[in-house]
């Protein structure tokens, strides 16, 4: 697990918030990226290695569940791509318990399951299951369209992603 846990910093002091005074204000967001190439395999079968995607970098809040997003990975800070599986305020299962996402946090998961990845010779998917919730200051954009390869050009399929249903068990706590 990486060292970055849930961020609980809120309000005006939050660094890099999307507002006009934030580090990543409108001008920063317009700088892109508008197009990205995908490396690695954890989003198969919907997105493959080598796909070229269009990104909308003007978003400043977590989009709907099921949307594919580009963000800076906690810990490494590298640009990564995953699907929104939980939005601010959602409960998500984590490490055998339930966790409530803060007002600025999302839960980002891979499309590929570990068995499929192992079969294709890859290791485990690395996503919120390993690094936890991701704060909105790490959000870079919303991936929405594939423009390469030509055989698979089109809007990215949106997954139906209902909120996690909290199962039976001890009452979860918010902090």
């Amino acid at each position: 697990m990486t060292e970055t846990g849930p961020r609980r910093v809120r309000g005006a002091l939050r660094p890099g918030a999307g507002g006009p005074l934030g580090l990543r204000g409108l001008r920063g967001r317009l700088a892109g990226p508008w197009r990205v190439a995908v490396a690695e395999a954890s989003m198969t079968p919907s997105i493959s290695e080598g796909d070229w995607l269009l990104v909308d970098p003007t978003v400043d809040r977590w989009p709907r569940r099921g949307t594919v997003v580009v963000f800076r990975e906690p810990g490494s800070g590298e640009l990564a791509i995953k699907r929104v599986a939980g939005r601010p305020g959602d409960w998500v299962p984590f490490s055998g318990a339930w966790l409530r996402l803060a007002d600025d946090e999302a839960w980002l998961l891979s499309d590929a399951d570990d068995a499929a990845l192992a079969e294709a010779g890859h290791g485990r998917a690395v996503d919120s299951g390993s690094y936890g919730p991701v704060g909105v200051d790490a959000l870079v954009g919303r991936a929405w369209f594939r423009y390469w390869p030509l055989s698979r050009v089109g809007r990215l399929p949106k997954a139906s992603a209902p909120p996690f249903a909290r199962g039976p068990g001890p009452a979860p706590t918010s902090d």
Binding site: R35, V36, A39, A80, I81, K82, G121, G123, V126
Partner: protein, 141 residues
């Protein structure tokens, strides 16, 4: 040309762990040779302190043998390799059992038997193309 213009300058990772894909029974063999030499030295010494240290070190090296054998068994070998090496599971089972035996023993024959079993694993690795597939430029000559 068009392709180059269209190519994004930014790469995003659909991140998954990457196994390094380098496997060689030589790792297990070297630790097992340490065990062999330690047993020799143990039997040649009458110094109680030295003999105690030898046992502690033997235990650690033997654990490393198990670790390297398990990595080969779980990660390198695949179900399709059973065709070339039908007794694969039995082989690893015997080799790991032999490590346990060596841990509890100071008999040089037990340590020698372990080396032989690791040589059998090495043969299985070679029979399935391990040398060409997993080492970057073969074994150092």
């Amino acid at each position: 040309m068009l392709h180059r213009v269209l190519a994004p300058r930014t790469t995003v990772r659909a991140h998954c762990d990457l196994p390094c894909g380098v496997y060689d029974p030589e790792q297990a063999r070297i630790e097992a040779e340490s065990v062999y030499r330690i047993v020799e030295k143990y039997n040649a010494s009458e110094d109680a302190t030295f003999r105690t240290r030898a046992l502690v070190i033997k235990e650690k090296q033997a654990d490393l043998v198990k670790h390297h054998l398990d990595t080969l068994w779980h990660d390198y070998f695949k179900p399709e390799h059973l065709e070339a090496v039908p007794n694969l599971h039995e082989l690893f089972w015997s080799a790991n059992k032999q490590v346990s035996k060596v841990k509890a023993s100071t008999n040089i024959d037990d340590a020698k038997k372990l080396l032989e079993l690791i040589d059998d694993v090495d043969a299985a690795w070679k029979a399935t193309g391990g040398l060409a597939k997993t080492r970057v430029a073969g074994r150092p000559g």
